[in-house]
Subunit: 276 residues, 2 copies
């Protein structure tokens, strides 16, 4: 028997579409339906087999036992009430947003069985065209329950991510947003800033290092504006911490203090080597 | 007939060793010798076939018609006079250092036929163990001649890099250092600072974006200290320009000004998409 009978995906883009493909491949649902505001996205999701039926309205979610909110954060916040009126009371609802505090806070007041999720997957490319069934294989999925989270729903959602090949980690929403402010949102705003500050005529001298470090500045500005703004407090803190370290390195350059500069770099290098 | 009869490589590390392998593979020299202060490096360079004969002293460079300076910048500056006394007067000398102003300035006073070169190749890994003959294939090599550069030597060195599969671009040493300050040294000091500022306990939540953006912080601190310090003026300027842009983005977050934030990000994204 499949884990779910009818799964509804709200927002069949890169992550939503990949979830549809992966759930279908692993036979975790009897039926998968999806919604998107864009007819072209729905057409592609249907053609790729990410969903069996698509609709531009949330009415299609009636009878679901799992609904996945996979639109940008602010859209998730806007859609909740409308979705609540369509789905059965005992339907499990999850989201896959990159910031969790605002979503989890509102969702816990809206749905009786909500579980916040953040799969650390994706790329600079967005949209259904880049969706793939193995997107979550080997990835980490951070689940962000709170005290009132339905325990059986939580267990079932852990099972879902594990079935998709993900490792599961638990964090409360506030800690999640602090951690991801440093580990994801800071790198993105750095990459956007670096790309913005470099004179255009220098781009013909692009070493691999520059190419790689700016990869994520090709990401969607709308999507990342949404993430940055819904985590602004933590992101500003991360920017300030980073600036402190960069300023410290700058000061050693100014003073020609190679000893301190090498020491700061060695500490960073040692930390990075632990990641390999 | 080979392009050179005896090539001497000073510093048989990642770049020097790769040059030895590539020159041998393309049959561009009758003989290749090398020096390194580390016996282990020499042993590996010999075993890998990057050089035919190795020595810890520069005496081995006697009779060379091409000498390649492939040690860190400050070491290149220190070695020049000793090398000058060993090699024939008409020997072409090139370097492959990442900063050019200091090296080119001193080398032009020391050698009669010097051509400054900077192949934009390499990785976070250093040392002969990572050397490979195709290191320069498809890479850009920036050559930095000055008014007094021997024209025949310059032509021959262009020919060398093209034979190794590189595209060649010409910049004066000052412009080179300005451009690379932004395109290479700034990304590296950003990566070191990011890696340094992130709390160690956050590292278990590493998304692909953080992993990729910090790759180059695994680079050798000694090597990069050398590069940063010999280009400090330009690097400080690049840091200040970057900080200005990051601060501007931070200000939009502070004010919840999504319109300006999205505009700044879109400009960066459009610029990055031109690189693809």
């Amino acid at each position: 028997m499949a884990l779910f009978s009818k799964v509804g995906i709200v927002g069949t883009g890169l992550i939503g579409g990949s979830l549809g493909l992966a759930i279908k491949q692993k036979k975790l649902a009897d039926d998968i339906v999806g919604t998107s505001r864009r007819p072209g996205t729905l057409r592609n999701a249907l053609a790729m087999g990410a969903i069996n039926t698509g609709s531009r309205t949330v009415d299609i979610l009636a009878g679901c036992d799992l609904v996945i909110l996979a639109t940008p954060v602010q859209t998730i916040l806007d859609q909740m009430v409308r979705i609540k009126h369509v789905i059965p009371k005992n339907c499990i609802v999850i989201d896959v947003a990159s910031t969790k505090e605002m979503v989890v806070h509102k969702a816990n007041k809206t749905f009786s069985r909500f579980v916040g999720c953040h799969p650390l997957a994706g790329s600079q490319n967005c949209g259904i065209d880049f969706a793939r069934p193995d997107m979550f294989k080997g990835a980490l999925c951070v689940i962000t329950p709170v005290a009132t989270t339905d325990r059986r729903a939580l267990l079932k959602i852990k099972k879902l991510w594990k079935a998709l090949g993900s490792k599961v980690s638990i964090l409360d929403p506030e800690t999640h947003d602090k951690v991801l402010g440093f580990m994801s949102h800071l790198p993105h705003i750095m990459a956007f800033s670096l790309m913005a500050c470099v004179p255009g005529k220098y781009l013909k001298y692009t070493p691999q290092s520059f190419f790689d470090i700016t990869r994520i500045s090709a990401s969607s500005p709308d999507l990342w504006d949404d993430i940055f703004i819904t985590n602004r407090k933590n992101l500003i803190n991360a920017i300030d911490t980073f600036t402190l370290y960069l300023t410290r390195m700058r000061a050693t350059l100014k003073k020609n203090d190679t000893k301190t500069l090498t020491r700061l770099m060695s500490a960073a290098q040692q930390k990075r080597l632990r990641l390999l």
